[in-house]
């Protein structure tokens, strides 16, 4: 069922040396994940227990402020809360009461730890237990940390999902669990592909509401759709579930390999697999071919950001004919990123963690055709004449599976297309050029 694949490279990146530097990191903390999670899980509220900085981060990182009351908020610690932890717990109870009275539609409440709450050792797990007892059965209270001292950007979703795993009921049913928050339309496409393969019932974590939750047990097998779910991976294994390792479903090749790993587990015949995937594979290849023309032969440099860098580098090098110069990741886990690293041809510098100033020096020296980086770096690099793709858009846009493969290529191609248009027609050039 792997026909029509380009053969894997003779030497992948799985054993390549990894550059590890310590210094300033230009990344978001895990609280940022709340921005998509609060939309994905429709009966949940995310209450950050933190400082004014946390609240400010959430509204700034949301970029476009959301024109409605969001299902997240911050309990801002004040001077008096720092004095005594008992009082802080009492204050938290009062704040939660106030919140739940205002939002009676909320069924799950996540207390989200922050840097300050961790430094003062405010025990949110104790608070969550206490509040669960108080508000059961109408509201379930869980806690996780989205703090910057513990988590980087997308690790916030990981921490949130990992916090849900222990409270899921036990089941002995042989079921497939797909893990990772996907846009609803993409999730539906995925379910329909799996249904076509005759695999079912398929459970999805996070579920859209508490009523749709699933059981976990030793007969559960799970696949990850996001490359940043290492804690959730570990939590599921602790419940006895088994991981189906595979490349991530980005692009035609990644999607096919991801589906193939599941199909093999469920003994789907080659014929059936081909019948289900042939048409969408053809569409995806055509869409990528069309969208990726500006990318062919160009070089790309990844700053560490969303943790999606390795699978995306695999997609860009193997399906869009780009060359990767450096692939930076906040952290690398062999059990999760190994299959993608196997497919990524040797050549690029892999790096884990960051000293942003030294990495900028490398980037400027390499002058890549496209730099994938966070919002803090994008405009300054553009002003130096480098084309950039801000990484946060990759988290906020439907990019998984066959029908989005062309869109994914377009996301990367757009900055290059734009530069060509503006340089072709404008009579005033950017000063930096």
């Amino acid at each position: 069922m792997t026909d029509q694949f380009a053969p894997p490279p003779a030497l992948g990146c799985r054993t390549s040396p990894v550059l590890k530097q310590r210094g300033q990191r230009e990344v978001f903390c895990g609280l940022t994940g709340i921005i998509w999670l609060h939309r994905k899980i429709q009966d949940a509220f995310f209450l950050v227990v933190g400082s004014r900085t946390c609240a400010h981060l959430l509204q700034s990182a949301a970029g476009v402020m959301i024109f409605a009351e969001p299902r997240f908020g911050t309990a801002i610690l004040e001077e008096s809360d720092l004095a005594g932890l008992n009082d802080a717990h009492a204050e938290l109870d009062r704040t939660v009461q106030q919140l739940l009275a205002r939002r009676p539609d909320i069924r799950q409440l996540f207390l989200v730890g922050s840097c300050p709450s961790e430094v003062i050792k405010l025990d949110l797990s104790r608070a969550a237990e206490r509040l669960t007892q108080q508000f059961a059965p109408s509201v379930r209270v869980l806690e996780y940390s989205g703090s910057g001292i513990e988590t980087t950007f997308t690790q916030g979703e990981d921490a949130c999902l990992a916090a849900m795993v222990p409270v899921l009921p036990h089941t002995t049913a042989r079921e497939l669990l797909v893990v990772g928050a996907l846009p609803d339309v993409v999730e539906d496409q995925m379910l329909s592909l799996l249904d076509g393969l005759g695999i079912g019932p398929v459970r999805v974590l996070p579920a859209r509401s508490i009523d749709a939750e699933m059981g976990i047990g030793e007969n559960t097998v799970f696949a990850l759709t996001q490359p940043f779910l290492s804690d959730t991976h570990a939590a599921l294994e602790r419940r006895g579930a088994r991981h189906l390792a595979a490349p991530f479903p980005f692009g035609e090749e990644g999607t096919t390999a991801w589906l193939a790993a599941i199909a093999a587990e469920f003994n789907v015949s080659d014929d059936r697999f081909r019948a289900v995937t042939e048409a969408p594979r053809r569409r995806a290849r055509a869409a990528i071919a069309q969208a990726s023309a500006p990318l062919n032969g160009k070089s790309v440099f990844f700053f560490p950001d969303s943790q999606m860098e390795v699978p995306l580098a695999r997609f860009l090098t193997r399906e869009c004919a780009m060359t990767a110069i450096e692939v930076g990741m906040p952290y690398i886990h062999d059990s999760i990123h190994g299959p993608d690293l196997d497919l990524l041809p040797q050549g690029p510098q892999l790096s884990e963690g960051q000293d942003v100033d030294m990495q900028l020096d490398r980037c400027r020296a390499a002058r890549p055709d496209l730099t994938v980086c966070g919002l803090g770096l994008a405009n300054p690099l553009e002003a130096e004449g480098l084309s950039t793709k801000w990484a946060i858009e990759l988290v906020f846009t439907p990019v998984h599976f066959y029908e989005q493969a062309g869109d994914l290529a377009s996301l990367f191609a757009r900055p290059l297309r734009r530069k060509t248009i503006l340089n072709g027609t404008s009579h005033t050039q950017v000063a930096a050029q």
Partner: protein, 513 residues
Amino acid sequence: MKLTVWTYEGPPHVGAMRVATGMKGLHYVLHAPQGDTYADLLFTMIERRDHRPPVTYTTFQARDLGSDTASLFKTACQDAYDRFQPEAIIVGASCTAELIQDDPGGLAETMGLPIPVIALELPSYQRKENFGADETFFQIVRHLAKPMEKTTRVSCNIIGPTALGFRHRDDVQEITNLLYELGIEVNVTAPMGATPADIAKMGQAHFNVLLYPETGEQAARHCEKAFDQPYTKVVPIGAGATHDFIAEVRRLSGSTTPIDTDRLRQSWWSRSVDSTYLTGKRVFIFGDGTHVLAAARIARDEMGFDVAGIGCYNREQARAVRALAKEYGLEALITDDYLEVERTIEALQPEMILGTQMERHIGKRLGIPCAVISAPVHVQDFPARYSPQMGFEGANVIFDTWIHPLVMGLEEHLLHMFREDFEFNDAAGPSHHGGHAPAAQAPEKMSLESKMKPEPAPTGEVVWLDTAERELKKIPFFVRGKARRNTESYASQKGLQEISLDTLYEAKAHFAR
């Protein structure tokens, strides 16, 4: 603990960043955990700056907490000096670093750097962004500026503009030109655009022009004491305030040079007959104290609006805003609780909001037009065009900005007359806006009703009779809230239990203006 949905101000270290980013040749070493670098995007994305803010974050993680965060700070500080070679460094802690008590100021002092190192104490759990900017700039001036001989020609400093300030870039240009016309040289503009060397010579100026009390008042007071420099108290936002500002500057400088006021079009635009529809429009004003005080004066005296409520989110300006509110016969709303502002606006049902990005959310939810007059603002409030708030051009800009969200005069009349037109109805919004959406072809009357904004539930004990309720719905949305409110208050004044069609029109006659 305070439950917060949106915040008007960031933490105080973001205020310090606004000062550092506005300046040149200054570097900020911030003891902060991973993730606090989000603040860079305020400058690179919202303000579209083409350089990274001059800030080095120590980026400590959980594993560092047990060991040595202090040496992490010193390494970061040394690296920042070696790489960026600044003229001066400011050092401080974000909220988390404040808790671990490493004392960045003391650590930096022991390093023996060959440049001034200024330690900032910004209490994150008590104070906010504006305080952070004001305090940081004050500390920089206190450390670097020294008494000096005054310039031979009369000169002043412009104090207060920062990075990420609402229209600071253009205000500075407008006021610099105005001072130039008055024959006054600008010695130093700070923090925006100034180097530490520039700050050192601030003492040369004869007086200071304080544009933004929120971010510059402490420094202005310090200069008054240390360098015998008086500072201006009038903030030149609006035509009247600009004239007052000119008079004040003349008193401080002795300038008698005439000023050409031909560029001030706002006064005529406001007097032209097309503007009569603005008369008595009820506005609610909210933002930072300085902009609110200015907007209230413009609204009442220069636009002919009726000020229905005012308030500010920064307690530092509470006294001045309360005093002005009293003069207007109002009670000021002093709060940084977004939900409280929303409740107030909902209860007042103004015809327009003059506010911040936050009130734009509220206006959108309640169907009330909103113009932005104050920070916090979003990317669309950093326009490419020249668009000051201050001086004569600022007054022109404000006139245009404030009337833009409104349904214009004749269109307003037509909506009153033919409100069930399927294309041009009040639910479609002002027709000069992009979002104007004609309803589907010949809709059912009910579907048109259902598109309307939700009506606030009738308040109090007074009951609306069906005929009166239906008549009320024939009034376009932008005045319906006012009509409902007026009628109800008329009914309760008269001790009526029910509102009939007659009550509605009696109230209308009673409140006629």
